[in-house]
């Protein structure tokens, strides 16, 4: 009961603030609305008993990624006069219809539940959420983890190459 109530609160705020992200004409207002969305997604993760993901959501998305977005907005000089108004209503409408169709299709297909995995919530809670993630990530999913480090390295070098002026 209380769980459902909390879920509906978080879901409603996520949908409304996500709407504000796309309909606000001032990009800074969009960024603040995005912050609200990301924090409430962390709330959904806590309701799903994935505490580690909730912490990551707050630290990385609401913290680092949002700082990044606001910095990029500041580089682009989004003043009152030079805001972007892209008149692409037809394409937006078309893509919106396609997206809604895809989402409806996925919901109708996945309404039939698959078999349950080995890791029930009770089992994970007895071990500890973060401990379980650590144990599985660093044994079974070792290769994706090391690939992630390469991707981070590429991103770092790419940012430096793009933004750093070569000394003459």
């Amino acid at each position: 009961m209380i769980l459902n109530l909390l879920f509906f609160y978080f879901a409603a705020v996520i949908v409304i603030s996500a709407l504000f992200v796309i309909i606000k004409r001032n990009a800074f207002h969009s960024a603040v609305a995005l912050l609200v969305t990301l924090i409430h997604i962390a709330g959904i993760f806590i309701l799903l008993n994935s505490e580690f993901l909730a912490a990551v959501q707050i630290l990385v998305y609401a913290g680092a990624i949002l700082v990044m977005i606001i910095f990029v907005l500041m580089f682009l000089n989004v003043t009152q006069r030079y805001r972007m108004f892209n008149r692409q209503k037809f394409i937006a409408f078309l893509m919106g219809i396609i997206l809604v169709g895809e989402v409806l299709y996925v919901i109708s297909v996945s309404a039939i539940k698959g078999p349950k995995g080995d890791f029930s919530i009770a089992k994970i809670m007895s071990e500890g959420n973060t401990q379980a993630i650590g144990r599985i990530l660093y044994t079974d999913y070792l290769f994706p983890f090391e690939v992630a480090s390469i991707i981070l390295l590429v991103a770092m070098i790419g940012a430096i190459v793009l933004a750093k002026k070569e000394p003459q």
Partner: protein, 124 residues
């Protein structure tokens, strides 16, 4: 869902958030109800330590902030990966230690690259 667990240990966090936002909203509403409203152009202008504002605050920033932000994001993610490793360390042993050393070495290469390119120097 047959198996759902109410995350009870987060109840203090919820209460804290409710009190914090309630206090913020409450003081704003109380101030709005009590204070007299006599606005004029000078009072509504942004306060800059007594000087009249002379330009838009939204100046374009130097691009070198971008490198700092990007490096912050990347090392933030590296730190996030260290947490699950650190709490499960006694169960996964030497294998995971070597793996984590490899991970840190790969990112350390990026750090050396950033230092060598002078990406962290503020001048130039």
């Amino acid at each position: 869902m047959p198996e759902t667990f109410l995350p009870e240990s987060y109840l203090p966090v919820l209460i804290f958030l409710i009190i914090a936002s309630g206090f913020a909203i409450g003081t704003l509403v109380a101030g709005w109800l009590i204070r007299p409203s006599r606005p004029y152009a000078k009072k509504l202008s942004p306060y800059e330590s007594g000087n009249p504002p002379f330009s838009d605050a939204r100046q374009p920033f130097p691009i070198r902030y971008y490198i700092i932000a990007m490096l912050f994001v990347i090392f933030d993610i590296e730190a996030i990966f260290l947490y699950p490793w650190a709490v499960a360390y006694n169960k996964i042993g030497l294998y995971a230690l070597i793996e984590m050393i490899l991970f840190i070495i790969i990112l350390f290469v990026g750090y050396i690259y950033a230092l060598g390119k002078g990406a962290l120097d503020w001048e130039s």
